[in-house]
């Protein structure tokens, strides 16, 4: 127990050093270095010793599962760190690729061809800010001569402005632009609307994948819905927000993934067993 506490304290201090903001480059120097890895290895060894030393009894099941779960997480993380592959790249829409750039300026050959056949962004109704000319203004064409009054959410009919009336959806929309909304709309000499918030509700890429037998099939890719193909897993991170000419993908080959995920589920469930269901709370029931 005391050795475990000492290891925990060392890890606590190392994490603090890595977290204190002397620049984010410090994190790479701390968390991917032996300063952090060696205490993690020591923790792994100590956890194995604790788990093996404890003679099995049903009442200790939660304790054992928790400790073995953490061991699995650490093993899986080491495996990912040692043998895993990751990269992030811009993927031009419409252009096929059969290799992707690695972080060290090399390339990974995919063994198949991929192309972004289509990409679509859906937006929530925009939020416009209503601004009014300040009484002492001497230059009505200058935006800083206006004061902010309210944020107005658009609906299917457009939006309603107090003291002006209804502004229709057609007046707010702008064709031939991305996004297709007016950024500025002068209502009258005293008031204007400014596009304050246009939030994507979803973005979807339709990928066409051709394997080495020239068989082609399509797959959709969205945030929180990654695509697994062969040994690769692709994640949609972002896109070209100005012209929508490319998307940004992350690609991973992670041999430690299933170890880590198994360990996570074991620890999540067993901690409830150890801390709540296996415990009798408040043995002392005195009044304070």
């Amino acid at each position: 127990m005391r050795i475990a506490i000492i290891i925990f304290v060392i890890l606590f201090v190392v994490l603090l050093i890595g977290a204190i903001p002397f620049g984010f480059a410090g994190q790479e120097n701390i968390f991917y270095s032996f300063i952090f890895i060696i205490p993690c290895l020591a923790l792994c060894i100590d956890l194995i010793y604790c788990a093996v030393k404890r003679h099995f009894h049903w009442r200790d099941l939660g304790f054992l599962i928790t400790h073995w779960g953490i061991i699995l997480i650490l093993w899986g993380a080491f495996l990912s760190f040692w043998k895993g592959t990751e990269t992030q790249f811009k993927f031009p829409i419409g252009h096929p690729i059969d290799s992707i750039p690695a972080n060290n300026e090399k390339v990974y050959q995919l063994g198949f061809q991929m192309r972004v056949k289509d990409f679509k962004v859906d937006y929530y109704p925009p939020v416009y800010g209503l601004y009014e000319l300040i009484p002492a203004a001497n230059n009505p064409t200058h935006q800083d001569q206006y004061t902010f009054l309210a944020a107005l959410k658009t609906n299917t009919a457009g939006l309603f402005v107090d003291g002006y009336g209804q502004v229709s959806l057609a007046q707010l929309q702008a064709t031939g632009r991305i996004p297709a909304w007016q950024s500025l709309l002068q209502l009258d000499q005293k008031k204007f609307l400014k596009l304050e918030q246009l939030t994507p509700s979803s973005y979807t890429a339709l990928l066409s994948i051709t394997d080495d037998n020239n068989q082609t099939h399509e797959e959709t890719l969205q945030v929180n819905h990654p695509l697994s193909y062969r040994t690769w897993k692709f994640y949609l991170n972002s896109y070209d927000q100005k012209d929508q000419k490319y998307i940004v993908l992350s690609a991973y080959q992670d041999p430690g993934r299933w170890l880590v995920i198994s360990g996570i589920w074991l620890v999540m469930i067993s901690t409830f067993i150890v801390c709540i269901f296996g415990k009798k709370f408040f043995k002392q029931k005195k009044e304070a």
């Binding site: 506490i5 925990f8 959410k153 918030q197 929180n224 897993k233 991170n237 408040f282």
Partner: protein, 265 residues
Amino acid sequence: MNLSYSFIYGLIGGAIALYTLACVFGFLKKYFGAMLCFAGAWCLNLSVFVINWVAGGVPPFGNMFHVMIFLTLCFLPFSFFFKLKLKSDWLLPYFAVAASLFLIGTLFMSPDLNWQQMPALKSFWFVPHVASYIISYALNAVALILTLQAVIQKNIRHSPDHATLLADTSYEIAIFAFPFMNFGLLSGALWAEQAWGTYWSWDIKETWSLITWLGYIIYFHIHRTKKWKQWHTAVQIAAFAALLVTFFVVNFLPRFQGGLHTYGS
């Protein structure tokens, strides 16, 4: 400030007043009055939560205001739970004071009724990850208040029995809170793997949440040793300080704004 924001701040102000009254009645051992005030405050608090939900169209866990409103909602149900376990009401004022303190913080935040859920937040894990963390923060706040009261009782009022009861209850509540904190941390890793491809990226929020988790791990282990148990109060305070950094400082300091979690700000 527009009318709807005034209405929301009015509800919050009313809830703060009633939570404070519940706390006062509780310490005076007028538990029936305390419960009535606590329930009334909770209803006002719940109204704000519902307004946030209707405005956003999804469960409101997307910004600090949303999260603080949910956090203050946690105190009443858990005070009931511990009342049933203890068969006594003496913990009620501690839950009420915690609710009041956190709700005061929301008066300095904008309700942001135009918040919209970004694509990265559209996941099964959105509600469980945030909710479990908030539940653990609420319980750990009460545990810390009990610990501080124990320190006062021991060192200033010289009531060692009372101090021991407070300290033991604090430990039990922190133990109860830990699986929720653990679930929040690990479900975040599962969600990160689903969204970004990596279950851990040393984002500043992730790093501080791991520091907090480790702080409480040290606290629980030290509590079980004879030689080092004397340090457990200091360790609990340090762990809670890390919790406050994770919850507040990381969200508000500009230097930390480059992290992955700032989409939720």
